[in-house]
Amino acid sequence: MQTKGGSSGVVLGCRSFCRGSLGDRAHTRTLRRSRFPSGCGPLRGGPGHTLRPPGLVPQPRPRGPGGGPVPVHIAGPGAVCSPRGGEEEEQPQPGSGAGHENRPSPKELEELELLNRALEKALKVRKSILKSPLEAPGATGKKLAGEGPAARKAEEQQVPVSVEDVPESTKVGTGSKKPGSSKKPSAYQLRAPYRTDPDVKKPQRKAPARCVSQGPRTSGKNSSKGVASKQRGSQRTATGSATEVCAPAEPQKTLGLSKSAPNEQQSFSVGDSAGGKNSIAAGQELFDAGKKSCGFLGESSKKEDTAGASGRSPSPGTGTLQEKGCQLKLPLPYRIAYSRNSRAWEKCHLCQTSADAAAARARFMERIQTTFCSPKADFSPAEIEEELRVLQDVRSHLRQYVEAETADPPTLQGEYESLLTLEGLQTTVAQCLQKLQLLRAALESQLRLRPDCTGDVGSCSPACVPARGQMCDTAGVLALPLLCYSSFQELRDLFALKLQVSMLHQEIALQKVLMAELLPVLEPSPCPEGSARLFRAIHTQLCQGGRSFPVLVRDELGD
């Protein structure tokens, strides 16, 4: 059974594996450790699977049915989750070109169903065996995780779970000790119903499955909420977001359940239930842990994040996202829609015009072109604009080149090189001028054909001034446009430069307008008294960009 699940999810498993091993977690840990140097610190910080201090182990047990099974469930996903990982991931996967059908075939569904039953049984058995010792599940989980391909397949959940369950028990054990405990109680109370809930529902197949899968997602939600609130800059406290978290959890559950498309739904929920069941508690754990860390990391990361402009609220969010980010999962409907969509884009991008179509099209275009006023019109107005833009660009580069060459070079070779360069530039300038002539002529002939322009701006400007940047090539247009950056610094530079460029655009436009409006004010130069002040103001504005001003000295010696 395991192998089966494994084989279906190799690729995905690898991904989830790398997900688990992302570097930022280590970062989080250090943070946490520094926050809780004694006792619980290393606990949370450590890999978690094994480092559970014995003192904490019994803690969950007193909680009874709610707490007891936790470790068992946790062990579960590690071992049994794989099919689910395969299944759930696979659904959207075809989008990236795996060549899969989008919907599972009935046969597959059947198999899945069987698989799920088996998994459930396995879970029960496991539960009864592994009831008490907490280390065991953790260890199992870990072992499985390290077990190579099969374990890698284990859905991402496995990783979070094993990581998560440590904080969870820690929390239970040391609840009162923690500095952030004021937040914890609420999290704890919230958890109880959640924890028991899935267990109650267990007999039904689908419902728990959904709930279960909510678990990890919920935690994701939780964390991202923090982030979003950070985004908005709202002053939500950590506690606030922690308690709020449970609200979205419910709706989502029902959303999942009430979703239509019975066939699909079935298959998905089945898929969910496979791993989901196992991770019922795990999910809860995750959820709680997420909640907790929301409150708790919030404080530690606040320190780190002093620069955060929005103050308190961002930090908790960051903390949680930081912790859970790699394990978040997009909601299923979105994943399906997304992967279908991206597959369609991919196909469209690769799709080529058939020779037939190209020929027929060319014939049509040729024929219609012959009926044009100027069948061989060189430039359309749009092209004129485009060409002009290119030439303007060239102008500025030419200037740069010329400036670079004005100084006399020291060596003979340098002199020769400079001479050649200058000659080359000369040719280029001549070419540009020639082209400009062509453009001017084209513009004139185009204007003659212009549909009745009444001269008022409203009528012609919409077409006259199309949004720039829209006129790009259609060739690569259907590809997914990605802009890859590799570091924070790069992203910052990018944004700063973008702003700088648009600022310069604006500044130039302003400069032109000001030149047109301010210089005529001075040029007649009527009254000397007021004009000196005016002169200075305008000078400042036009020549210094408003940054510095000239000194005007009254020369009264002449009098």
């Binding site: 939780n222 979003a228 015009t353 179509a357 010329v402 300038v429 247009v477 400069q511 002169f535």
Partner: protein, 523 residues
């Protein structure tokens, strides 16, 4: 025979009577419409066209057999018609579905336009209006008055170089000309890459998008602003220059706070990208965007997004279907041209456009044209100056060079200067190549919105990451590249600004000299 292609239901069983009933272009349900009376002439013609050879023979043979043969032939033709008609209506259907939902025409509109039905013309104007508005990124509503719409479509088509005079002569109330519009639409379809462009433009954005183009973006507003400010010129004396300074300072302050906000946004974006890496279904992306992170948090708010994605998927599928059926459409369009040629529309055009050409000479009032002419003038002035400068420089250098070479000819020969000279030539050519590449008009500049994706520079350090990186889409640009481009643009804009300021300095210096008893000391 081509006549019927868009009308699969045009099949008539008889084919016995005259051309009228044969015209397959008239589907039954339209036969009763008031427009029926309109193209009587065409009808007859098309009937003739359809039969061509057979009609003649039937006429000469006269008897029943001839009739039967004609019938057979007609049946066969009908079958062909039906098949082609089916393909064509599928193509038209796919085409319509591939258009953006807001501008989606009924496939019927195309067919009606093919027969120049007046009732299709309004639909067509609206269609073109919606499409062109979308391409130009303008705002629009269905309620825009029809003559505005028509004016816009005409000038937009003109802008893109559609030169068919008949279109521009269509009545401004949109009461006729659906076939002309169909032609224009088809022309746009190819010339502008209409479908592709619209698909790309309207792409559902789920990522953190940022624009990469360095084009001037807000120009339209500025241009629109200018004429409004001109009337205020009279007030200028009354406006304190300090107000201007204050405004300028405010602007500067806004820029700065915008910058701070951008930086903050970057920080958050980066965090989200970093922390969610590996979570996305799409391995090419790897991590969530802000939208997706929020979606995880409250999926119930994103039903609409999912719907949008789904409808876009359908549109894309329609596009694929269209690409399959495209040849049928273009062949059909050719027959439309055939018909028009038959009707003599094409020849007529020759006379009209000569007339048209002479017509509006007074259009120089168009601000767009003025602006463009201004730009051209300015550019050519600049280039002239540059040319003079270069000319002088070259002459000077050349003279110096010749002198030096003459003086040290032997020495240079000994040193093997010719080899060095060749090397220098090559390097100069290389240097100038950049410039020539700039001159090439169709260089693939980056435009539009791109989705920001964080890619670790050291994927190897993360186990199992290798595979994620391998599948890199072609269209991905790197931030380094964009930054380089932006730097170049920044530098050139800075130069441009500096030049403008220099110009001001000259003029103001001249003015300062005219000021009595005041000495200006520039900072």
């Amino acid at each position: 025979m081509a006549r019927s292609v868009l009308c699969p239901q045009a099949e008539r069983t008889g084919g016995t009577s005259s051309g009228t009933s044969r015209d397959p272009g008239y589907p039954g349900r339209q036969a009763g419409s008031p427009q029926c009376s309109l193209p009587a002439g065409r009808r007859r013609r098309s009937g003739r066209d359809g039969r061509k050879g057979s009609a003649g023979r039937a006429g000469s043979g006269g008897g029943m057999r001839g009739r039967q043969r004609v019938q057979h032939r007609e049946h066969r033709e009908h079958r062909e018609h039906r098949e082609r008609g089916r393909a064509l209506s599928a193509a038209a259907g796919a085409l319509c579905r591939a258009l953006p939902p807001r501008a989606r025409p009924a496939p019927d509109t195309l067919r009606r336009a093919r027969f120049d039905r007046p009732q299709a013309s309004l639909d067509f104007w609206r269609l073109l209006y919606a499409l062109l508005k979308q391409i130009h990124g303008g705002r629009w509503t269905e309620s825009d008055t029809i003559d505005n719409q028509i004016r816009f479509v005409k000038s937009a088509l003109w802008y893109h170089g559609y030169d068919r005079p008949e279109l521009y002569q269509l009545p401004a109330d949109g009461s006729a000309g659906s076939r002309e519009l169909l032609l224009a639409f088809s022309w746009m379809l190819h010339r502008l890459g209409l479908l592709e462009r619209l698909l790309a433009r309207n792409r559902v954005r789920t990522g953190d998008e940022t624009s990469v183009c360095t084009c001037e973006d807000d120009l339209p507003n500025i241009q629109k602003g200018t004429p409004e400010t001109t009337p205020e010129c009279g007030l200028e004396d009354r406006v304190d220059v300090r107000y201007l300074q204050w405004l300028n300072g405010r602007l500067r302050f806004q820029w700065q706070s915008l910058h701070a906000q951008h930086q903050e946004q970057c920080k958050l974006l980066h965090k989200i990208h970093l922390f969610t890496s590996g979570s996305h279904v799409d391995q090419v992306l790897g991590h969530f965007s802000v939208t997706e992170t929020d979606l995880v948090r409250q999926p119930e708010n994103y039903k609409q997004l999912i719907q949008l994605l789904e409808s876009e998927t359908m549109q894309l599928e329609a596009f694929l279907e269209w690409k399959q059926l495209e040849p049928v459409y273009w062949q059909w369009m050719e027959t439309v041209l055939d018909n028009m040629a038959e009707e003599g529309n094409m020849c007529k055009s020759q006379d009209t456009h000569v007339e048209k050409r002479r017509l509006p000479e007074l259009t120089s009032c168009c601000p767009w044209a003025d602006n463009l002419t201004g730009q051209i003038d300015r550019l050519s002035r600049d280039l002239m100056t540059l040319q003079d400068q270069l000319h002088k420089l070259v002459a000077h250098r050349k003279a110096a060079w010749c002198e030096k070479v003459k003086a040290r000819e032997e020495e240079l020969q000994k040193e093997g200067f010719s080899a060095t000279a060749r090397k220098i030539q090559e390097s100069v050519e290389l240097k100038l190549l950049d410039l020539t590449r700039l001159c090439a008009p169709k260089k693939n500049k980056m435009h539009g919105l791109y989705r920001l994706v964080l890619r670790s520079k050291h994927p190897a350090s993360k186990t199992g990451f290798g595979q994620c990186v391998s599948k890199e889409p072609v269209s991905a640009v790197s931030a380094t590249e964009v930054i380089r481009e932006l730097r170049m643009r920044e530098a050139s804009l800075q130069r441009e600004l500096e030049q403008l300021r220099e110009e001001c300095r000259h003029r103001l210096d001249a003015i300062a000299e005219g000021l009595d008893g005041v000495i200006c000391i520039s900072p």
